[in-house]
């Protein structure tokens, strides 16, 4: 199994940390992982993206131009990465702020109202975990228990009290993802 994913959105949406949690979860189940962020001027300009690969085998290129899955969180990223999804692949997006919706017919498109659901849960910061939950529902590449283990390993102890909230957010995403 190899899953090649791009997560793209605004800086501050938790794009890089969502990728990091996915990568950590992969390590927890003995998989190979790579996490390659955009860095520098691109990031400083307001958009952030990260390529995450989770695989049972040694990973070759950490930089790719086509993906099994694209998780898209703003319009600029939709414009840039809709075409990068491989035929038959998955595009997951939050419609909040999207004016030009994806048009492709040869991929599977899903929506998650991450921003709205996070706001309803009373914490906008867990937005990325809601989206992550939606992704895991579509592509269960890592087990939820390994995500929790990964969170425990990657977060400093003083933040461990937030893990149940993150778990709730993941479950919220799993329940509310919509296939278009």
């Amino acid at each position: 199994m190899t899953e090649e994913i791009i997560i793209a959105g605004f800086g501050g949406q938790g794009v890089l940390s969502m990728g990091k949690i996915l990568a950590y979860s992969g390590i927890m189940q003995d998989q190979e992982v790579s996490w390659m962020p955009s860095y520098g001027p691109e990031m400083r300009g307001g958009t952030a993206n990260v390529i995450v690969i989770v695989s049972d085998e040694r990973i070759s290129s950490p930089i790719l131009t086509t993906f099994d899955t694209a998780i898209i969180l703003n319009q600029q990223s939709m414009d840039k990465f809709e075409k990068s999804v491989r035929p038959g692949g998955v595009l997951l997006y939050d419609p909040n702020g999207i004016t030009r919706h994806p048009q492709r017919k040869d991929i599977k498109i899903y929506q998650i109202e991450g921003a709205r659901l996070a706001a309803e849960m009373g914490n906008a910061k867990i937005f990325n975990m809601v989206v992550f939950g939606a992704f895991l529902k579509i592509k269960p590449v890592v087990k939820l228990e390994n995500v929790i283990k990964g969170l425990k390993k990657s977060l400093p102890e003083r933040y461990h009290k937030l893990i149940p909230l993150n778990e709730d957010a993941i479950n919220m995403g799993m329940k509310n993802v919509v296939a278009l």
């Binding site: 390590i27 992982v33 390659m36 520098g40 070759s60 930089i63 790719l64």
Partner: protein, 361 residues
């Protein structure tokens, strides 16, 4: 099994410096390797092992601090990115001339000049042909993963002390910035003063009664002596060339076409091998691990075994390709492909270059 972590290449390298028992790190921040000094400052290695970490006033100051500490028999390192490494070249030439061990790291970005902060491999000539003046060489290790960013620190210090030579870890913005799983090696205690004195009998560790005065210098105004010194250096480089060549062959057994690459380009070329094989093209990857010494003998030997062509893949306008040509010496076709100036080529572009320049050309 050692501790498993998800780390950036730069962070793994910094952690490895502490674990390798380094005595000191002197550096100056520059993208894309600033995480090295950031991580070291945050980790407070002076509390963990007694290691000194200092942000120098400039890259030139940092390399001269390295020169001084190395002269005292200390395990010392610095790191920077391309423009900063250019500034360090005078010091590196002195360290090579004075035959001192040290480790330094270049997380390469696009040039020339201040260039760009995006990844590049255009410092190959500087790294392997002597970036500073004089007839010197240095061992150049090219990590292609976060794991190797960690492992090569330990190995680099070993080689530096074995041969009393500067060792360069030549990385790039991709390997420095990406995160991967890394198994950290168990910490090696720093040498005590007694151990350092015993391990480096040439070092200036304080003259005792009955011991000879030790002088560390790269200067000798007697040209005959300087020639002798140079001959000795050349013998050392030959010895290194004989003993320390490292490379990895991937899918080369039945290959007709070989990508030659190092660092992040090797990872990209490995994907291109998979794409090529899926199309029925028998491609393989010759991944360089040491750039100096270069695996000339092995490459030449492979050449006679049904290889129709070599494609040198590097993020430069064509530097490593010259060493491939020298190794192959005309017995198979050699071409170069690479994007540069901070652009990272894709596996698809690498495969297309093989098809156009080698197979179709």
């Amino acid at each position: 099994m050692g501790e498993l972590k998800l780390m950036k290449g730069n962070e793994a390298l910094a952690e490895a410096a502490i674990r390798a028992g380094a005595d000191a790190y002197f550096g100056y921040p520059i993208t894309p390797q600033s995480e090295v000094i950031e991580y070291l400052m945050a980790e407070k290695p002076h509390e963990r092992t007694g290691m000194v970490v200092l942000q120098a006033e400039s890259e030139i100051a940092a390399i001269n601090m390295v020169y001084g500490a190395a002269g005292a028999g200390k395990k010392v390192m610095t790191s920077s990115s391309s423009p900063g490494i250019s500034l360090k070249q005078e010091g590196i030439s002195y360290i090579a001339g004075a035959e001192l061990p040290c480790l330094y790291v270049n997380v390469v970005r696009g040039g020339p000049g201040l260039g760009t902060i995006q990844p590049s491999q255009a410092d190959y000539f500087q790294s392997t042909k002597g970036g500073g003046h004089g007839d010197y060489r240095q061992i150049v290790l090219a990590p292609a993963s976060v794991q190797e960013m960690s492992d090569f620190v330990k190995e680099g210090f070993d080689l530096a002390f074995k041969y009393r030579i500067p060792v360069l870890i030549l990385s790039d913005g991709v390997i420095g910035q990406m995160m991967e799983k890394v198994e950290l090696f168990d910490p090696i205690p720093r040498w005590t003063d007694e151990e350092a004195i015993a391990n480096s009998p040439w070092a200036t560790t304080g003259k005792k009664n009955g011991t000879e005065r030790r002088i560390i210098t790269s200067l000798d105004l007697d040209s005959h002596k300087m020639e002798e010194h140079n001959i000795k250096l050349q013998e050392k480089y030959k010895e290194i060339t004989k003993n320390e060549v490292r490379y990895e062959l991937i899918d080369c057994d039945d290959a007709e076409y070989i990508f030659v690459a190092y660092g992040s380009s090797a990872r990209i070329a490995q994907k291109a091998v998979q794409l090529a094989r899926a199309k029925g093209i028998k491609a393989g990857l010759f991944r360089l691990i040491t750039l100096f010494p270069f695996p000339t003998v092995k490459m030449r030997e492979m050449c006679g075994k049904g290889i129709k062509g070599f494609l040198a893949v590097e993020m430069s306008a064509g530097q490593m390709v010259e060493d491939v040509m020298l190794a192959v010496r005309g017995c198979a076709k050699v071409e170069h492909f690479g994007r540069y100036g901070g652009i990272v080529h894709t596996p698809e572009e690498v495969l297309a270059a093989l098809e156009q320049k080698i197979i179709g050309g």
